[in-house]
């Protein structure tokens, strides 16, 4: 009698532990994000171009910084990252917007915008790289287009692709720039940025340093900062950045840029010297 009781107990425990283990290894992410990628790369690029052209570049309130010196520095920094993404579907375009806000955002099709306030806020080109790598992560993981599809509906996105409905496009642009990503997406973008930084020989801890500086300056929750919007999570995000272990062969390489010069150029830039 005793033996069979123990046998029963073991059967029950085994069933429970086995089902726990089995369901733990179910790829939940794939199941729940299955309806995601429903917009093709070509459509995303087209939509991104429309939003940038009509929603940003034609917006009189937005000034895009164009300066030979700044552009050459930006080209150097972004090339460092983009060249290490590996296989990618997008042609990345980085543009700087004149604004004191410490912010950056990603539009569909690999269009990344950085505010001058953010560049001035960065202590080093590595900080900027960390933010850019994070934004590239959002683009590579197609978070923006998925959010747009979820919030506005696919039919609306596709209807815009056909005609040139400027009002609608700038409306989509507004939704895209005010997009809030969820925690899992921020984590995904963070993880992507760590790996990208490692491949670009930038210390992944730069993201933590940047986060910390942001939280010190603006408090844990600043609704203007997309990058900080999942605020209860900030400590774990800083921790993740600090704990990220690069491969053993990883050697950090300082980016050779006169950063203070870059910052002062950005500060002194005004639209009259647009060249």
């Amino acid at each position: 009698m005793r033996k069979s009781v123990y046998r029963d107990l073991i059967i029950l425990l085994t069933i429970f532990v086995a089902s726990w283990a089995a369901f733990t290894y179910v790829p939940w992410g794939d199941i729940f994000s299955a309806p995601d990628v429903t917009v093709s790369i070509a459509d995303e690029e087209k939509l991104g171009k429309l939003i940038v052209d009509y929603g940003i570049l034609k917006d009189p309130t937005i000034t895009i910084v164009r300066d030979k010196k700044i552009d050459s520095v930006m080209r150097m920094v972004t090339h460092l990252l983009v060249s290490k993404i590996g296989k990618t579907d997008f042609e990345y375009t980085f543009r700087i917007i004149k604004s004191d806000q410490v912010n950056a955002f990603t539009l569909p099709g690999g269009n990344i915008f950085i505010y001058t306030g953010l560049i001035e806020f960065c202590d080093s080109p590595e900080h900027l790289c960390a933010v850019l790598a994070h934004e590239i992560g959002h683009a590579e993981k197609r978070h923006v287009i998925n959010k747009l599809a979820k919030e506005l509906g696919l039919s609306l996105l596709f209807s815009v692709l056909g005609g040139n409905d400027n009002v609608m496009i700038s409306e989509i642009g507004r939704t895209a720039t005010s997009t809030v990503f969820d925690r899992a997406q921020e984590k995904e973008a963070d993880d992507f940025s760590f790996q990208l930084m490692e491949r670009s020989r930038i210390n992944p801890k730069a993201l933590a340093a940047f986060f910390r500086k942001l939280t010190d300056a603006y408090g844990a929750s600043n609704e203007h900062l997309e990058i900080l919007q999942t605020h209860p999570n900030n400590n774990s995000r800083i921790k993740a950045s600090l704990e990220y272990k690069p491969d053993t062969g990883f050697v950090e390489k300082k980016i050779d840029i006169d950063w203070s010069n870059m910052v002062s150029t950005i500060k002194n830039w005004d639209s009259t010297q647009n060249n």
């Binding site: 009698m1 059967i11 733990t24």
Partner: protein, 166 residues
């Protein structure tokens, strides 16, 4: 130290009252489970109360209340862990909504569903006067209710009303 077991009552020997009481043990548990969802402990309390109310009942009733009681301890514990683990994730945010937790939730959900199904079967069987042994718990309950314990049975069998002593 098994000293043998009391004979099992057969369906036709059992009064209708006993069958209903035995079925009540399982049904009671479901009602309390619904009420106790946010804090999955109420059903356990209800089961303990039901068990003690029926302490004096026939062995058949006691077997079913005992089985209903002990078989819900693991599920209740699992549900409680799921709730507190979830709260911990929500409040402190340092454990994260991991796959381990998701897997646990699904496993617990499955356990609850299985438990529900077996509970219903138990209630139906009890109502028709049949014994029903759940895996593991059935044997424990049978052992603790039907085992012959000479001292306890003697105590229980002690007669209150005795004829006058001549």
């Amino acid at each position: 130290m098994d000293t043998g077991y009391h004979p099992l009552p057969q369906p036709e020997e059992l009064p209708q009252r006993d069958k209903e009481d035995a079925m009540g043990a399982y049904l009671m548990m479901f009602a309390a489970l619904g009420a106790g969802l946010p804090l999955p402990i109420i059903n356990l309390i209800a089961a303990v109360i039901y068990y003690y109310i029926n302490k004096k009942a026939s062995r058949f009733v006691r077997f079913h209340t005992h089985q209903a009681l002990i078989s819900q301890i693991p599920t209740t514990l699992m549900n409680a862990i799921a709730v507190f683990w979830g709260l911990r994730i929500l409040i402190y945010d340092d454990w994260g909504f991991t796959n381990i937790y998701k897997g646990y939730l699904v496993a617990v959900l499955l356990a609850n569903i299985l438990y529900f199904i077996f509970g219903i079967i138990g209630a139906i069987k009890a109502n028709s006067g049949k014994m029903y042994y759940l895996l593991f718990f059935g044997k424990i309950s049978y052992h603790s209710v039907f085992q012959i314990r000479p001292d306890e049975d003697a105590k229980a069998g002690k007669q209150e009303n005795l004829p006058p002593k001549f």
